[in-house]
Subunit: 239 residues, 2 copies
DNA sequence: CGCAACTGCTGATGAGATAAACAGTTTTGG
DNA sequence: CCAAAACTGTTTATCTCATCAGCAGTTGCG
Protein backbone atom coordinates (compact mmCIF):
# COMPACT_ATOMS: atom_id res chain seq x y z
CA UNK A 1 0.00 0.00 0.00
CA UNK A 2 2.52 2.56 1.01
CA UNK A 3 5.15 2.09 -1.60
CA UNK A 4 7.41 5.07 -1.83
CA UNK A 5 7.15 5.74 -5.46
CA UNK A 6 7.52 9.44 -5.71
CA UNK A 7 9.49 8.71 -8.85
CA UNK A 8 8.72 11.96 -10.49
CA UNK A 9 5.26 13.19 -9.77
CA UNK A 10 5.69 15.41 -12.76
CA UNK A 11 5.99 12.52 -15.15
CA UNK A 12 2.68 11.23 -13.95
CA UNK A 13 1.09 14.63 -14.27
CA UNK A 14 2.18 15.07 -17.85
CA UNK A 15 0.87 11.66 -18.72
CA UNK A 16 -2.43 12.11 -16.94
CA UNK A 17 -3.07 15.43 -18.57
CA UNK A 18 -1.84 14.45 -21.96
CA UNK A 19 0.75 17.16 -21.80
CA UNK A 20 3.46 15.29 -23.59
CA UNK A 21 5.09 16.19 -26.83
CA UNK A 22 4.90 13.64 -29.56
CA UNK A 23 8.22 12.26 -30.71
CA UNK A 24 9.05 12.69 -34.37
CA UNK A 25 11.97 10.37 -34.90
CA UNK A 26 12.11 6.67 -34.45
CA UNK A 27 9.62 3.97 -35.25
CA UNK A 28 5.96 4.84 -34.92
CA UNK A 29 4.70 3.89 -31.52
CA UNK A 30 2.41 0.92 -31.87
CA UNK A 31 0.51 1.73 -28.69
CA UNK A 32 -0.72 4.68 -26.71
CA UNK A 33 -1.08 5.12 -22.98
CA UNK A 34 -4.77 5.31 -23.53
CA UNK A 35 -5.08 2.01 -25.34
CA UNK A 36 -2.91 0.38 -22.72
CA UNK A 37 -5.13 1.72 -19.98
CA UNK A 38 -8.21 0.41 -21.71
CA UNK A 39 -6.75 -3.04 -22.02
CA UNK A 40 -5.84 -2.92 -18.35
CA UNK A 41 -9.37 -1.85 -17.51
CA UNK A 42 -10.75 -4.81 -19.40
CA UNK A 43 -8.53 -7.16 -17.44
CA UNK A 44 -9.42 -5.56 -14.14
CA UNK A 45 -13.12 -5.67 -14.91
CA UNK A 46 -12.89 -9.33 -15.70
CA UNK A 47 -10.39 -10.60 -13.17
CA UNK A 48 -9.78 -7.92 -10.60
CA UNK A 49 -7.07 -5.39 -10.02
CA UNK A 50 -4.56 -7.98 -8.93
CA UNK A 51 -4.75 -9.61 -12.31
CA UNK A 52 -3.46 -6.45 -13.92
CA UNK A 53 0.17 -7.39 -14.33
CA UNK A 54 2.35 -5.54 -16.75
CA UNK A 55 3.08 -8.78 -18.53
CA UNK A 56 -0.57 -9.62 -18.84
CA UNK A 57 -1.51 -6.25 -20.23
CA UNK A 58 1.38 -6.41 -22.64
CA UNK A 59 0.24 -9.81 -23.79
CA UNK A 60 -3.03 -8.26 -24.93
CA UNK A 61 -1.01 -6.43 -27.54
CA UNK A 62 1.37 -9.23 -28.24
CA UNK A 63 4.35 -7.29 -26.92
CA UNK A 64 6.70 -7.87 -24.04
CA UNK A 65 6.04 -6.44 -20.62
CA UNK A 66 8.89 -4.00 -20.91
CA UNK A 67 7.43 -2.47 -24.03
CA UNK A 68 4.77 -0.83 -21.87
CA UNK A 69 7.38 1.13 -20.02
CA UNK A 70 7.91 3.13 -23.17
CA UNK A 71 4.41 4.51 -22.68
CA UNK A 72 3.84 4.47 -18.95
CA UNK A 73 6.37 5.22 -16.23
CA UNK A 74 5.21 2.34 -14.06
CA UNK A 75 2.31 0.44 -12.75
CA UNK A 76 1.07 3.10 -10.36
CA UNK A 77 0.71 5.53 -13.22
CA UNK A 78 -1.06 2.90 -15.28
CA UNK A 79 -3.62 2.48 -12.55
CA UNK A 80 -4.15 6.22 -12.52
CA UNK A 81 -4.79 6.13 -16.21
CA UNK A 82 -7.26 3.33 -15.70
CA UNK A 83 -9.13 5.45 -13.22
CA UNK A 84 -9.20 8.39 -15.56
CA UNK A 85 -10.32 6.21 -18.38
CA UNK A 86 -13.25 4.87 -16.46
CA UNK A 87 -14.32 8.25 -15.13
CA UNK A 88 -14.81 9.67 -18.58
CA UNK A 89 -16.96 11.43 -19.36
CA UNK A 90 -17.62 13.58 -16.35
CA UNK A 91 -21.26 13.77 -15.35
CA UNK A 92 -23.44 16.45 -16.85
CA UNK A 93 -26.08 17.30 -14.31
CA UNK A 94 -27.62 20.16 -16.22
CA UNK A 95 -30.59 18.07 -17.27
CA UNK A 96 -31.46 17.19 -13.71
CA UNK A 97 -33.29 20.38 -13.10
CA UNK A 98 -32.99 22.89 -10.34
CA UNK A 99 -32.14 22.39 -6.73
CA UNK A 100 -28.98 21.30 -5.02
CA UNK A 101 -30.55 18.22 -3.54
CA UNK A 102 -31.71 16.41 -6.67
CA UNK A 103 -28.47 17.31 -8.34
CA UNK A 104 -26.14 15.96 -5.70
CA UNK A 105 -28.30 12.87 -5.43
CA UNK A 106 -27.93 12.31 -9.13
CA UNK A 107 -24.20 12.83 -8.82
CA UNK A 108 -24.04 10.19 -6.13
CA UNK A 109 -26.10 7.73 -8.12
CA UNK A 110 -23.91 8.07 -11.16
CA UNK A 111 -20.77 7.81 -9.12
CA UNK A 112 -22.09 4.68 -7.45
CA UNK A 113 -23.00 3.20 -10.77
CA UNK A 114 -19.50 3.58 -12.12
CA UNK A 115 -17.98 2.14 -9.01
CA UNK A 116 -20.27 -0.83 -9.21
CA UNK A 117 -19.42 -1.38 -12.85
CA UNK A 118 -15.72 -1.44 -12.08
CA UNK A 119 -15.27 -3.17 -8.76
CA UNK A 120 -11.55 -2.47 -8.75
CA UNK A 121 -12.12 1.27 -8.87
CA UNK A 122 -12.56 1.55 -5.15
CA UNK A 123 -9.29 -0.16 -4.46
CA UNK A 124 -7.55 1.84 -7.14
CA UNK A 125 -8.59 5.14 -5.62
CA UNK A 126 -8.25 4.03 -2.02
CA UNK A 127 -4.51 4.26 -2.18
CA UNK A 128 -2.27 7.09 -1.26
CA UNK A 129 -3.33 10.52 -2.11
CA UNK A 130 -2.97 10.52 -5.82
CA UNK A 131 -2.75 13.39 -8.12
CA UNK A 132 -6.11 13.74 -9.75
CA UNK A 133 -6.51 13.65 -13.46
CA UNK A 134 -8.84 15.86 -15.46
CA UNK A 135 -11.76 13.50 -15.21
CA UNK A 136 -11.44 13.02 -11.49
CA UNK A 137 -11.34 16.78 -11.09
CA UNK A 138 -14.33 17.15 -13.38
CA UNK A 139 -16.35 14.88 -11.11
CA UNK A 140 -15.30 16.95 -8.15
CA UNK A 141 -16.23 20.09 -10.02
CA UNK A 142 -19.64 18.70 -10.87
CA UNK A 143 -20.38 17.88 -7.25
CA UNK A 144 -19.32 21.29 -6.06
CA UNK A 145 -21.38 22.93 -8.77
CA UNK A 146 -24.39 20.92 -7.68
CA UNK A 147 -23.95 22.09 -4.12
CA UNK A 148 -23.48 25.75 -4.94
CA UNK A 149 -27.18 26.67 -4.85
CA UNK A 150 -27.43 25.37 -1.30
CA UNK A 151 -25.88 28.55 -0.06
CA UNK A 152 -23.35 26.92 2.21
CA UNK A 153 -20.00 28.44 3.00
CA UNK A 154 -17.20 27.19 0.81
CA UNK A 155 -15.81 25.12 3.63
CA UNK A 156 -19.17 23.56 4.36
CA UNK A 157 -19.66 22.85 0.70
CA UNK A 158 -16.39 20.97 0.65
CA UNK A 159 -17.25 19.04 3.79
CA UNK A 160 -20.59 18.00 2.40
CA UNK A 161 -18.88 16.80 -0.73
CA UNK A 162 -16.56 14.67 1.32
CA UNK A 163 -19.53 13.19 3.15
CA UNK A 164 -21.37 12.30 0.00
CA UNK A 165 -18.35 10.93 -1.80
CA UNK A 166 -17.46 8.89 1.25
CA UNK A 167 -20.98 7.60 1.45
CA UNK A 168 -20.86 6.36 -2.09
CA UNK A 169 -17.61 4.57 -1.45
CA UNK A 170 -18.84 2.99 1.74
CA UNK A 171 -22.04 1.69 0.29
CA UNK A 172 -20.64 0.44 -2.95
CA UNK A 173 -18.02 -1.41 -0.99
CA UNK A 174 -20.77 -3.00 1.07
CA UNK A 175 -22.66 -4.04 -1.95
CA UNK A 176 -19.64 -5.44 -3.74
CA UNK A 177 -18.72 -7.41 -0.66
CA UNK A 178 -22.18 -8.79 -0.45
CA UNK A 179 -22.30 -9.82 -4.07
CA UNK A 180 -19.07 -11.67 -3.74
CA UNK A 181 -19.04 -15.41 -4.10
CA UNK A 182 -17.70 -16.24 -0.69
CA UNK A 183 -20.33 -14.04 0.84
CA UNK A 184 -22.77 -16.81 1.61
CA UNK A 185 -20.10 -18.93 3.20
CA UNK A 186 -19.02 -15.93 5.20
CA UNK A 187 -22.49 -15.21 6.45
CA UNK A 188 -22.97 -18.80 7.46
CA UNK A 189 -19.71 -18.99 9.33
CA UNK A 190 -20.25 -15.71 11.09
CA UNK A 191 -23.74 -16.74 12.09
CA UNK A 192 -22.43 -19.97 13.50
CA UNK A 193 -19.79 -18.16 15.50
CA UNK A 194 -22.34 -15.73 16.77
CA UNK A 195 -24.61 -18.48 17.91
CA UNK A 196 -21.78 -19.91 19.91
CA UNK A 197 -21.01 -16.57 21.56
CA UNK A 198 -24.39 -14.87 21.71
CA UNK A 199 -23.83 -13.73 25.26
CA UNK A 200 -20.76 -11.75 24.32
CA UNK A 201 -22.63 -9.75 21.69
CA UNK A 202 -26.07 -9.10 23.07
CA UNK A 203 -27.00 -6.08 21.00
CA UNK A 204 -25.79 -7.69 17.82
CA UNK A 205 -27.68 -10.87 18.59
CA UNK A 206 -30.84 -8.90 19.20
CA UNK A 207 -30.35 -6.90 16.02
CA UNK A 208 -29.90 -10.00 13.94
CA UNK A 209 -32.93 -11.61 15.49
CA UNK A 210 -34.87 -8.51 14.58
CA UNK A 211 -33.76 -8.82 10.99
CA UNK A 212 -31.21 -6.02 10.90
CA UNK A 213 -29.04 -7.90 8.47
CA UNK A 214 -31.78 -9.39 6.40
CA UNK A 215 -32.09 -8.40 2.76
CA UNK A 216 -33.73 -5.07 2.53
CA UNK A 217 -35.93 -3.36 0.02
CA UNK A 218 -34.55 0.06 0.83
CA UNK A 219 -31.56 1.07 -1.25
CA UNK A 220 -28.86 1.83 1.31
CA UNK A 221 -27.49 4.59 -0.85
CA UNK A 222 -30.82 6.36 -0.97
CA UNK A 223 -31.18 5.90 2.75
CA UNK A 224 -27.75 7.36 3.41
CA UNK A 225 -28.30 10.26 1.07
CA UNK A 226 -31.60 11.05 2.72
CA UNK A 227 -30.00 11.08 6.15
CA UNK A 228 -27.01 13.16 5.16
CA UNK A 229 -28.92 15.61 3.05
CA UNK A 230 -31.60 15.99 5.71
CA UNK A 231 -28.76 16.84 8.03
CA UNK A 232 -27.45 19.37 5.55
CA UNK A 233 -30.91 20.86 5.21
CA UNK A 234 -31.07 21.26 8.96
CA UNK A 235 -27.77 23.08 8.80
CA UNK A 236 -29.08 25.39 6.09
CA UNK A 237 -32.29 26.10 7.92
CA UNK A 238 -30.42 26.94 11.05
CA UNK A 239 -28.35 29.60 9.35
CA UNK B 1 -6.49 -6.96 -3.72
CA UNK B 2 -8.62 -9.80 -4.86
CA UNK B 3 -6.40 -12.75 -4.24
CA UNK B 4 -8.36 -15.94 -4.07
CA UNK B 5 -7.17 -17.30 -0.82
CA UNK B 6 -10.10 -19.17 0.52
CA UNK B 7 -7.54 -21.63 1.83
CA UNK B 8 -9.70 -22.82 4.60
CA UNK B 9 -11.81 -20.15 6.14
CA UNK B 10 -12.17 -22.43 9.11
CA UNK B 11 -8.49 -22.34 9.88
CA UNK B 12 -8.66 -18.59 10.10
CA UNK B 13 -11.71 -18.72 12.28
CA UNK B 14 -10.14 -21.04 14.78
CA UNK B 15 -7.09 -18.85 14.96
CA UNK B 16 -9.02 -15.63 15.29
CA UNK B 17 -11.19 -16.97 18.04
CA UNK B 18 -8.44 -18.79 19.84
CA UNK B 19 -10.28 -22.02 19.38
CA UNK B 20 -7.29 -24.20 18.85
CA UNK B 21 -6.15 -27.05 21.00
CA UNK B 22 -2.71 -26.79 22.41
CA UNK B 23 -0.27 -29.42 21.24
CA UNK B 24 1.35 -31.54 23.91
CA UNK B 25 4.16 -33.27 22.12
CA UNK B 26 7.13 -31.78 20.45
CA UNK B 27 9.28 -28.83 21.39
CA UNK B 28 7.66 -25.97 23.21
CA UNK B 29 6.54 -23.35 20.76
CA UNK B 30 8.75 -20.32 21.14
CA UNK B 31 6.11 -17.97 19.80
CA UNK B 32 2.39 -17.43 19.81
CA UNK B 33 0.14 -16.04 17.11
CA UNK B 34 -0.52 -13.15 19.41
CA UNK B 35 3.10 -12.21 19.90
CA UNK B 36 3.66 -12.48 16.18
CA UNK B 37 0.74 -10.19 15.51
CA UNK B 38 2.05 -7.67 17.97
CA UNK B 39 5.43 -7.61 16.33
CA UNK B 40 3.74 -7.15 12.98
CA UNK B 41 1.69 -4.29 14.39
CA UNK B 42 4.83 -2.59 15.59
CA UNK B 43 6.35 -2.85 12.15
CA UNK B 44 3.20 -1.60 10.46
CA UNK B 45 2.90 1.31 12.84
CA UNK B 46 6.45 2.32 12.13
CA UNK B 47 6.81 1.58 8.45
CA UNK B 48 3.42 0.88 6.99
CA UNK B 49 1.56 -2.25 6.06
CA UNK B 50 3.76 -2.95 3.08
CA UNK B 51 6.73 -3.29 5.36
CA UNK B 52 5.08 -6.22 7.07
CA UNK B 53 6.83 -9.06 5.31
CA UNK B 54 6.88 -12.50 6.81
CA UNK B 55 10.65 -12.43 6.78
CA UNK B 56 10.74 -9.09 8.52
CA UNK B 57 8.36 -10.15 11.24
CA UNK B 58 10.28 -13.36 11.71
CA UNK B 59 13.49 -11.42 12.04
CA UNK B 60 12.05 -9.68 15.08
CA UNK B 61 12.18 -13.01 16.82
CA UNK B 62 15.39 -14.16 15.25
CA UNK B 63 13.71 -17.01 13.41
CA UNK B 64 13.32 -17.79 9.76
CA UNK B 65 10.30 -16.62 7.81
CA UNK B 66 8.95 -20.10 7.48
CA UNK B 67 8.84 -20.55 11.22
CA UNK B 68 5.86 -18.21 11.34
CA UNK B 69 3.84 -20.60 9.24
CA UNK B 70 3.79 -22.93 12.23
CA UNK B 71 1.64 -20.34 13.98
CA UNK B 72 -0.24 -18.57 11.24
CA UNK B 73 -1.68 -20.09 8.05
CA UNK B 74 -0.54 -17.21 5.92
CA UNK B 75 -0.13 -13.51 5.63
CA UNK B 76 -3.80 -12.71 5.23
CA UNK B 77 -4.56 -14.36 8.52
CA UNK B 78 -1.72 -12.52 10.15
CA UNK B 79 -3.19 -9.23 9.06
CA UNK B 80 -6.51 -10.28 10.54
CA UNK B 81 -4.79 -10.97 13.80
CA UNK B 82 -3.14 -7.56 13.66
CA UNK B 83 -6.55 -5.98 13.30
CA UNK B 84 -7.95 -7.91 16.21
CA UNK B 85 -4.95 -7.05 18.27
CA UNK B 86 -5.35 -3.37 17.70
CA UNK B 87 -9.10 -3.35 18.30
CA UNK B 88 -8.72 -4.67 21.81
CA UNK B 89 -10.28 -3.83 24.07
CA UNK B 90 -13.71 -3.12 22.70
CA UNK B 91 -15.11 0.24 23.72
CA UNK B 92 -17.11 0.51 26.89
CA UNK B 93 -19.63 3.28 26.43
CA UNK B 94 -21.46 2.76 29.69
CA UNK B 95 -19.79 5.77 31.24
CA UNK B 96 -20.96 8.08 28.49
CA UNK B 97 -24.37 8.54 29.98
CA UNK B 98 -27.76 8.24 28.46
CA UNK B 99 -28.90 8.94 24.96
CA UNK B 100 -28.13 7.30 21.68
CA UNK B 101 -26.57 10.37 20.21
CA UNK B 102 -23.77 11.01 22.68
CA UNK B 103 -23.02 7.32 22.76
CA UNK B 104 -22.69 6.79 19.06
CA UNK B 105 -20.64 9.98 18.85
CA UNK B 106 -18.29 8.62 21.45
CA UNK B 107 -18.11 5.35 19.57
CA UNK B 108 -17.12 7.20 16.42
CA UNK B 109 -14.50 9.25 18.20
CA UNK B 110 -12.86 6.23 19.70
CA UNK B 111 -12.97 4.37 16.43
CA UNK B 112 -11.39 7.32 14.68
CA UNK B 113 -8.71 7.55 17.31
CA UNK B 114 -7.65 3.96 16.82
CA UNK B 115 -7.61 4.32 13.06
CA UNK B 116 -5.46 7.40 13.36
CA UNK B 117 -3.06 5.65 15.68
CA UNK B 118 -2.60 2.80 13.24
CA UNK B 119 -2.66 4.25 9.77
CA UNK B 120 -2.46 0.81 8.20
CA UNK B 121 -5.71 -0.25 9.83
CA UNK B 122 -7.84 1.28 7.12
CA UNK B 123 -6.02 -0.58 4.40
CA UNK B 124 -6.07 -3.78 6.40
CA UNK B 125 -9.83 -3.69 6.79
CA UNK B 126 -10.56 -2.28 3.36
CA UNK B 127 -9.92 -5.60 1.75
CA UNK B 128 -12.34 -8.33 0.88
CA UNK B 129 -15.05 -9.12 3.26
CA UNK B 130 -13.12 -10.69 6.06
CA UNK B 131 -14.40 -12.83 8.78
CA UNK B 132 -14.62 -10.68 11.84
CA UNK B 133 -12.85 -11.59 15.00
CA UNK B 134 -14.27 -11.19 18.47
CA UNK B 135 -12.98 -7.68 18.89
CA UNK B 136 -14.32 -6.48 15.60
CA UNK B 137 -17.68 -7.94 16.50
CA UNK B 138 -17.51 -6.33 19.91
CA UNK B 139 -17.09 -2.93 18.31
CA UNK B 140 -20.06 -3.64 16.12
CA UNK B 141 -22.03 -4.75 19.14
CA UNK B 142 -21.15 -1.60 21.01
CA UNK B 143 -22.35 0.60 18.18
CA UNK B 144 -25.62 -1.27 17.84
CA UNK B 145 -26.12 -1.11 21.59
CA UNK B 146 -25.57 2.63 21.49
CA UNK B 147 -28.20 2.99 18.80
CA UNK B 148 -30.82 0.85 20.47
CA UNK B 149 -32.42 3.64 22.51
CA UNK B 150 -33.09 5.59 19.34
CA UNK B 151 -36.05 3.40 18.64
CA UNK B 152 -35.25 2.69 15.04
CA UNK B 153 -36.18 -0.49 13.29
CA UNK B 154 -33.50 -3.12 13.27
CA UNK B 155 -32.81 -2.49 9.61
CA UNK B 156 -32.54 1.24 10.15
CA UNK B 157 -30.27 0.70 13.08
CA UNK B 158 -27.96 -1.33 10.91
CA UNK B 159 -28.01 1.23 8.14
CA UNK B 160 -27.15 4.01 10.52
CA UNK B 161 -24.28 1.98 11.82
CA UNK B 162 -22.97 1.57 8.30
CA UNK B 163 -23.22 5.30 7.76
CA UNK B 164 -21.32 6.16 10.90
CA UNK B 165 -18.65 3.53 10.42
CA UNK B 166 -18.22 4.65 6.84
CA UNK B 167 -17.95 8.23 7.95
CA UNK B 168 -15.15 7.42 10.33
CA UNK B 169 -13.27 5.60 7.63
CA UNK B 170 -13.72 8.37 5.11
CA UNK B 171 -12.58 11.12 7.39
CA UNK B 172 -9.66 9.32 8.90
CA UNK B 173 -8.48 8.52 5.41
CA UNK B 174 -8.72 12.20 4.55
CA UNK B 175 -6.76 13.19 7.56
CA UNK B 176 -4.07 10.58 7.06
CA UNK B 177 -3.68 11.66 3.46
CA UNK B 178 -3.34 15.21 4.51
CA UNK B 179 -0.72 14.48 7.13
CA UNK B 180 1.36 12.64 4.65
CA UNK B 181 4.70 14.00 3.66
CA UNK B 182 4.04 14.32 -0.03
CA UNK B 183 0.88 16.19 0.76
CA UNK B 184 2.36 19.64 0.36
CA UNK B 185 3.95 18.75 -2.93
CA UNK B 186 0.62 17.31 -4.03
CA UNK B 187 -1.31 20.42 -3.11
CA UNK B 188 1.18 22.59 -4.95
CA UNK B 189 1.08 20.51 -8.09
CA UNK B 190 -2.67 20.27 -8.12
CA UNK B 191 -3.01 23.98 -7.59
CA UNK B 192 -0.66 24.61 -10.47
CA UNK B 193 -2.64 22.35 -12.74
CA UNK B 194 -5.84 23.97 -11.69
CA UNK B 195 -4.54 27.39 -12.47
CA UNK B 196 -3.72 26.23 -15.95
CA UNK B 197 -7.19 24.81 -16.50
CA UNK B 198 -9.38 27.05 -14.39
CA UNK B 199 -11.97 27.33 -17.13
CA UNK B 200 -12.56 23.60 -17.18
CA UNK B 201 -13.35 23.48 -13.48
CA UNK B 202 -15.30 26.63 -12.71
CA UNK B 203 -17.06 25.48 -9.57
CA UNK B 204 -13.90 24.03 -8.14
CA UNK B 205 -11.98 27.16 -8.93
CA UNK B 206 -14.61 29.27 -7.21
CA UNK B 207 -14.66 26.96 -4.22
CA UNK B 208 -10.93 27.14 -3.80
CA UNK B 209 -10.92 30.89 -4.15
CA UNK B 210 -13.54 30.99 -1.42
CA UNK B 211 -11.29 28.95 0.83
CA UNK B 212 -13.10 25.63 0.62
CA UNK B 213 -9.87 23.71 0.91
CA UNK B 214 -8.17 25.95 3.40
CA UNK B 215 -7.31 24.57 6.82
CA UNK B 216 -10.39 24.54 8.93
CA UNK B 217 -11.08 24.89 12.61
CA UNK B 218 -14.08 22.60 12.44
CA UNK B 219 -13.32 18.95 13.03
CA UNK B 220 -14.63 17.21 9.91
CA UNK B 221 -15.64 14.19 11.95
CA UNK B 222 -17.79 16.26 14.25
CA UNK B 223 -19.28 18.01 11.25
CA UNK B 224 -20.10 14.77 9.57
CA UNK B 225 -21.57 13.26 12.71
CA UNK B 226 -23.72 16.30 13.24
CA UNK B 227 -25.08 16.08 9.71
CA UNK B 228 -25.74 12.37 9.77
CA UNK B 229 -27.21 12.30 13.23
CA UNK B 230 -29.38 15.33 12.50
CA UNK B 231 -30.61 13.35 9.56
CA UNK B 232 -31.31 10.38 11.77
CA UNK B 233 -33.12 12.59 14.23
CA UNK B 234 -35.32 13.84 11.42
CA UNK B 235 -36.09 10.26 10.57
CA UNK B 236 -37.02 9.51 14.17
CA UNK B 237 -39.19 12.59 14.50
CA UNK B 238 -41.02 11.71 11.35
CA UNK B 239 -42.03 8.30 12.62
C1' DC C 1 24.49 9.81 -44.99
C1' DG C 2 25.03 9.28 -40.17
C1' DC C 3 23.71 10.14 -35.74
C1' DA C 4 20.15 11.05 -32.39
C1' DA C 5 15.84 9.75 -30.75
C1' DC C 6 12.93 5.99 -30.50
C1' DT C 7 10.69 1.34 -30.16
C1' DG C 8 10.62 -3.29 -28.65
C1' DC C 9 13.20 -7.20 -26.81
C1' DT C 10 15.98 -10.36 -23.95
C1' DG C 11 18.07 -11.18 -19.60
C1' DA C 12 18.91 -10.10 -14.87
C1' DT C 13 17.68 -8.63 -10.30
C1' DG C 14 15.28 -8.44 -6.16
C1' DA C 15 11.26 -8.66 -3.19
C1' DG C 16 7.91 -11.60 -1.25
C1' DA C 17 4.85 -15.48 -0.32
C1' DT C 18 4.88 -20.00 0.39
C1' DA C 19 5.58 -25.21 -0.78
C1' DA C 20 8.65 -29.37 0.26
C1' DA C 21 11.63 -31.97 2.64
C1' DC C 22 14.63 -32.53 6.46
C1' DA C 23 16.73 -32.50 11.08
C1' DG C 24 16.21 -32.08 15.90
C1' DT C 25 12.91 -32.30 20.21
C1' DT C 26 9.57 -34.00 23.32
C1' DT C 27 5.82 -36.95 24.82
C1' DT C 28 3.44 -40.97 25.29
C1' DG C 29 1.91 -45.72 24.58
C1' DG C 30 3.68 -50.28 25.01
C1' DC D 1 12.80 -47.19 28.87
C1' DC D 2 12.23 -46.87 23.77
C1' DA D 3 10.39 -45.97 19.43
C1' DA D 4 7.02 -43.79 16.83
C1' DA D 5 4.13 -39.78 16.67
C1' DA D 6 3.58 -34.96 16.86
C1' DC D 7 5.91 -30.85 16.70
C1' DT D 8 9.25 -26.91 15.85
C1' DG D 9 12.44 -24.56 13.15
C1' DT D 10 15.56 -24.73 8.93
C1' DT D 11 17.21 -24.77 4.28
C1' DT D 12 16.07 -24.92 -0.56
C1' DA D 13 13.37 -24.07 -4.19
C1' DT D 14 9.42 -22.10 -6.80
C1' DC D 15 6.58 -18.54 -8.61
C1' DT D 16 4.89 -14.13 -9.54
C1' DC D 17 5.86 -9.44 -10.41
C1' DA D 18 7.86 -4.99 -11.12
C1' DT D 19 11.51 -2.91 -13.00
C1' DC D 20 16.54 -1.96 -14.46
C1' DA D 21 20.18 -2.52 -18.23
C1' DG D 22 21.79 -3.07 -22.44
C1' DC D 23 21.04 -4.41 -27.23
C1' DA D 24 19.31 -4.34 -31.94
C1' DG D 25 16.53 -2.53 -35.41
C1' DT D 26 13.97 2.01 -37.24
C1' DT D 27 13.33 6.55 -38.81
C1' DG D 28 13.76 11.46 -39.69
C1' DC D 29 16.60 15.67 -39.46
C1' DG D 30 20.68 18.31 -40.54
Amino acid sequence: MAKEKARDLRAGVALLWGEQDQPTRGPKPSLTPHRIAEAAVAIADAEGLDAVAMSKVAAEFGVSAMALYRYVPGKAELVQLMVESVLAPAPDLSAVGEGWRPQIIEWARRSAKIHRSHPWLLAATAMRRQLMGPNQLAWLDAALAALEPAGLTAAQQHRVFVLVAGLVRTLVQQQLDFDEEHSQEWIRLTGELLGRHADRFPALTRAIAAGAFAPDTVDPLEFGLDRILDGVQTLIDRA
